[in-house]
Symmetry: C2
Subunit: 161 residues, 2 copies
């Protein structure tokens, strides 16, 4: 007897992501939707929106709901596994903060017209000194506990200019 089940089951073949430990540690469950979403994020260098992630996962796992994508991304962002980028076009994009291979610290180049986001890792060395100096100065002066920084250049990409 076959059963038309909407849901995959997790099994031996499923791989044991580097992130699973962190999930367990926080008391979160490891589920198929979460595995699928993280798999998509791990296998792209693009900056995907919630809907784009939904569509990609949907191909192999049609049971997925868009709601779950949003919920998962929110969770992943809270855990620092994922970074949300606001390209200013009304929908957020997401990228892995640090993957299994350890992504390098980088910043963004955003096209003001089409919203395309490019990572760049150039000049990070030169940046370090400025950032640490600025960070300690600001933290003192404005009584901010600084957690993160972001350098973004806006402009027009090759195709749009």
């Amino acid at each position: 007897m076959r059963y038309g089940r909407r849901h995959l089951r997790r099994g031996y073949g499923m791989g044991h992501g580097w992130w699973q430990g962190r999930f367990r540690g926080c008391g979160y469950r490891i589920t198929v939707p979460r595995e699928e979403i993280l798999s998509v994020l791990s296998n792209t260098s693009e900056h995907l929106s919630a809907e784009e992630i939904y569509m990609k996962v949907h191909k192999t796992y049609p049971g997925l709901g868009l709601t779950t994508v949003y919920r998962t991304l929110e969770l992943l962002e809270e855990m620092g596994i994922v970074i949300r980028i606001d390209a200013g076009d009304g929908r957020a994009r997401y990228e892995l903060a640090e993957g299994p291979k350890g992504r390098r610290h980088h910043h963004h180049l955003i096209c003001a017209k089409c919203g395309k986001v490019i990572d760049y890792t150039d000049f990070i060395e030169d940046e370090k000194e400025l950032i640490s100096k600025t960070e300690s100065g600001l933290s003192k002066k404005y009584k901010f506990k600084i957690l993160n920084h972001e350098i973004t250049f806006y402009g027009l990409c090759d195709a749009c200019k």
Copy 2:
């Protein structure tokens, strides 16, 4: 006979903003809503959302519609008179790019909890070299025409930490 008019008329007392020339130059009309919105933006050091601007203007000019605020802000952003800031809390905030007195180049410190935005002008000198170097390097490498940059620190403000 009195008439309950919903609309103020522009008159001699209304002041001649530094921005009016730019409006005329672009073929845009100078209207009361635009004057009022720019007046609010000129008289605050806060980073206001469209709705906050609407509420402030509404006190002296109840005829104003929220739609007009959005439309005006869009126009002002296009003209480079206003800068939109995405604090990541789902609504954009706006600030004057450069006022009559000429605001200094600055960057932002954003509280990840309450969304508060603080301008800082510290370390701008140190920043210059890095930025110009980065800018020319990126522009060449990625064929981007760079128009603008943004440095933002995220953290917790004194009240939230």
